[in-house]
Subunit: 306 residues, 2 copies
Amino acid sequence: MILITGAAGFIGSAIAHSLNNLGFKTLTIDNFSTGYRSNLPKNTILIEGDCGDPETISQLQNYNVDTILHFAGQSSGEVSFNDPLADQKSNTTSTLLLLNYAKLKGIRKFIYASSMSVYGDHENLPVTEESVTMPKSLYAVGKLASEHYLNIYSNSDLKVVSLRLFNVYGPGQNLANLKQGMLSIYLAQALKDGQIKVKGSLERFRDLVYIDDVVEVVSLLVTTDLSNPYSVYNVANAYPVKVKEMITSIKAVLGNISVKEIEGTQGDQFGIFGSNYSLMKDFGWKPKIKHITGIKKMIAWAQNQR
Amino acid sequence: MILITGAAGFIGSAIAHSLNNLGFKTLTIDNFSTGYRSNLPKNTILIEGDCGDPETISQLQNYNVDTILHFAGQSSGEVSFNDPLADQKSNTTSTLLLLNYAKLKGIRKFIYASSMSVYGDHENLPVTEESVTMPKSLYAVGKLASEHYLNIYSNSDLKVVSLRLFNVYGPGQNLANLKQGMLSIYLAQALKDGQIKVKGSLERFRDLVYIDDVVEVVSLLVTTDLSNPYSVYNVANAYPVKVKEMITSIKAVLGNISVKEIEGTQGDQFGIFGSNYSLMKDFGWKPKIKHITGIKKMIAWAQNQR
């Protein structure tokens, strides 16, 4: 049985559906803080609660889990500054509790949703998994601390992979959450007001990864025997897309949209993109969807949601 | 007024006494988990509580603090594995709470007791402040996360220094605590049983820093205007001392002591020593006490404690 935390969220639910379709039994945890009950696959067993609460994790005792996919967590750098303790609980304590459970129950595999935010701002791009980590937000500090905890607990019985997800986007992203997901925020604003408010420079850039490509990475890791006790992988498309290019892509479909530049947010990285060579080398994974195609697919989906 | 957390502990109390003697007004926090009430200087104001509890930190509101010296914290890598959540609260949540207080009250200076443990095991020694951080214990992960938090909160109004303390030893170290402080553990065992139980190899090595030298660093930082918003400094003697050399030094004073090698502890580093060039360059600090002298002084003190 596979445990998926955050299975009502954007990425977690896409993974849960995919694994259900592949025939895996899934157990899911979500506190529905930003995710939706309707995102959960039908055949899953749900534990409703916060992964940072020992009480939630203690409910796992009754299940035979062999693999943990930890995708729950407060996912906004900006929001992490509003309530640092809540962010710590959500992104770091949760990992400690799950690791403790994994150790007690002899879990074999643990896949963790880390973030490209652990790198901070770098001059030498693309960043590789060996690049120095310089977190700029409290969120990023928590993700990095979780990576370190996972590394320490990993061994030949408990194989661990930390995935440094770059900017994941696509159908299913929460258009009502204007604090997380650059593309989904812009798209939600464009569809609602015909105006995109950009927090920070239009020259900032990101590495956009389409949700289906992320799901494929996770499926590969779930179904393949891992050799190393601990690994870190960038999940990246390996090229930069400027904010202004994202907006051009949105305009190309939705027509004229006005753009307003407003003050940037604390801890925001200026620009980053990642190498995806390691994941290609070790698992033969290659992202299939370029941003131009992906943004079109996402807009088509978003228009259907209105 | 200077706030000193952990002022009933080994290092915190030495700093508190020194600053009191220099004429500074001090406010202190301690939960007496490992420290002693008798360690506190007489003229200090004490808040009894845990720095990881919001309630303790809220009591600071009534005082005019300009400088924070955060030296409280669970200080054993070994113990951090027994209760990971308690370690996180003690070593990371405490820093977040104090930073939040510092921001609200316009604190000017924050000096943090980090640890050489953030480096983990390195082949290229001595480690410098630019060396890669690879924490091996949950304790070390928490110290590193705190450093990152401090870096993020620092700015031209709130100057922050993280001190990566190497193995601090000397008079005042808690001889009753057999989980923390390599030298004090060996010494306590030698005095009590005539036998030293070494957890791990005799070839392991550490960088021993005498308590008075650490106190001098802190005094310098308290009394000097800092130019950078954030800095990290090794507090190191810059040469390695093997476990077997420590034991030789103890034997030289106490006579024949038997030695028993037992199993090592989780997350223990094999060997490390640090460069102290940065602290020398920026503040003219140089450690004065070599380990041979320091160990003699410590033994003389310990024998008086019996």
